[in-house]
């Protein structure tokens, strides 16, 4: 039998859901360990930075990197793992497009620290202590990684070979990706793998009759009818601007698509596309009428870019951005 593939997996700014999803391939995990050796997977086994540093360059055949680049440590690990792996995969929405942590790009470091360490109702911080990158103690100076103003996707800091979208990637798609690497059946570099090239509407089981709405409601405000398109029922669904491949898992639970599989091929900005699509179903022919419908949408940008703000054309909110382009 040929030598087993050496695989690494890492989490940067992420929740760990991608790692759990890898385990959700269930009994196929037994086939998986026949194929691969995990040489680095901090969420499952004990590894230290020095174990990675000791590897030769290109030692890992495949590295599944999940999580966005939120701080200096994430960026350091991304660069290190790029050097140590032959194939680097941006695994899951956060590495692919910035994901949920990327929504922090509507704020900057100071605003986030102000809320998290001072204003949040659950915090008690009488001395107003916020994290510093360097601090002097009796034993010397200690350091923690710098927290960036702007969250980045993995490909904004290193060269990425493939993208596996999803929050988290669907287990059957993960299995497909691992199989493709094991059998050396890889698509061209830069491809999005483990997803479809069509919109989610194509695999959505619901019926479309006439898309026309006179107001939007949020998902918790109504129990949607089972077989009717959610947009027609006034529920904001990202399906028409999102790749299929997940098996319409949210839709089947009566919830709208949130767009985690990212934009369709050739699309520069997922938010702009859904803005275009949803606005055209508004039932109003006067500016006042349109405004009335838009008033029912409290947070369009947050919804349009729920998973992809760092990868959008504008990347972040501009009026609270760092003045110097060199500041992270």
């Amino acid at each position: 039998m040929a030598e087993k593939l050496k695989v690494g997996a890492y989490w940067a700014a992420s929740c760990g859901g991608c790692d759990v999803s890898t385990l959700d391939i269930h009994e196929k995990i037994l086939d998986l360990i026949q194929l691969v050796d995990f040489v680095f997977w901090p969420v499952a086994m004990d590894f230290k930075y020095k174990d990675v540093e000791a590897m030769e360059d290109g030692f890992m055949d495949l590295c599944l990197f999940n999580g966005a680049i939120r701080n200096e440590e994430n960026e350091h690990m991304a660069k290190l793992l790029r050097k140590k792996s032959k194939v680097l995969v941006a695994f899951g929405s956060c590495a692919h497009m910035g994901g949920i942590p990327g929504l922090a790009n509507f704020h900057n470091r100071d605003e986030i620290f102000q809320y998290v360490y001072k204003d949040s109702p659950s915090i008690s911080n009488p001395d107003s202590i916020v994290p510093q990158t360097k601090y002097k103690v009796d034993e010397g100076e200690i350091e923690i990684p710098e927290f960036y103003n702007t969250v980045k996707s993995l490909d904004q800091v290193v060269d990425v070979d493939y993208y596996v979208p999803g929050c988290p990637p669907a287990p059957h798609q993960i299995w497909g990706v691992l199989e493709a690497v094991a059998t050396n059946n890889l698509p061209p570099k830069g491809s999005v793998v483990g997803a479809d090239d069509r919109a989610l509407c194509e695999e959505c089981p619901r019926e479309i009759s006439e898309r026309c709405v006179d107001g939007f409601i949020r998902p918790h405000m109504k129990i949607p009818e089972k077989d009717k398109c959610l947009v027609e029922q006034g529920i904001f669904c990202m399906g028409s601007a999102t790749r299929a491949g997940c098996g319409a898992r949210c839709i089947k639970c009566n919830l709208p698509c949130r767009g985690c599989y990212g934009p369709l091929p050739g699309v520069m900005d997922q938010g702009a596309k859904i803005c275009s699509a949803l606005a055209s179903v508004i039932k109003a022919d006067t500016p006042e009428g349109v405004q009335k419908v838009l008033d029912t949408l409290p947070d369009p940008a947050g919804y349009f870019y729920r998973f992809g703000l760092p990868k959008s054309l504008l990347h972040r909110r501009l009026d609270n951005a760092p003045e110097s382009p060199d500041e992270n």
Binding site: D285, A301, L314
Partner: protein, 151 residues
């Protein structure tokens, strides 16, 4: 040097482009800050165009089409009338002032209106100052680093 706004003007072929042409052939003087792109219909204006212009260095985007009811393709401009307010609302959350993206109806006979819109928009954006999205969003830096890696 004083700040000269860069404005991208996306004009519909049937009304607004002809209106701008009329302003020119009638030798009206208007500020030279608008760079005109002709599209067949204002309904063709994908919000991506506006975002891309702003992300790549434009300080403002003007979209002009036929008056409601006059669309050459029946209702293209009605779609634009629905899209642009949503786009503007979204841009507000990105910290972009509403004056920077403007939708106007300019018919083929309204050369004078085109002139007024361009002058007014240029002055308003001149007061706001440069948008500078390229630097603030970190795009300039990301691009420079990507180039360095490739080289």
């Amino acid at each position: 040097m004083s700040f000269e706004p860069k404005i991208v003007g996306i004009l519909c072929n049937w009304c607004s482009y002809t209106g701008a042409d009329l302003a020119g052939t009638s030798r009206m003087k208007y500020l030279p800050n608008v760079r005109v792109v002709r599209v067949m219909c204002s309904g063709r204006v994908d919000p991506t165009f506006v975002l891309k212009a702003l992300a790549e260095g434009a300080d403002g985007v003007l979209i002009a089409g036929c008056h409601p009811g006059d669309c050459h393709y029946d209702n293209g401009n009605i779609k634009t009338m629905r899209r642009m307010p949503l786009l503007e609302k979204m841009l507000g959350q990105f910290g972009i002032e509403p004056e920077r993206v403007r939708l106007e109806w300019v018919s083929a006979s309204e050369g004078e209106k085109f002139k007024e819109v361009v002058d007014d928009m240029t002055e308003k954006i001149r007061k706001l100052g440069p948008l500078n999205a390229l630097n603030k969003s970190g795009v300039a830096k990301i691009r420079a680093e990507t180039r360095k890696e490739v080289a």
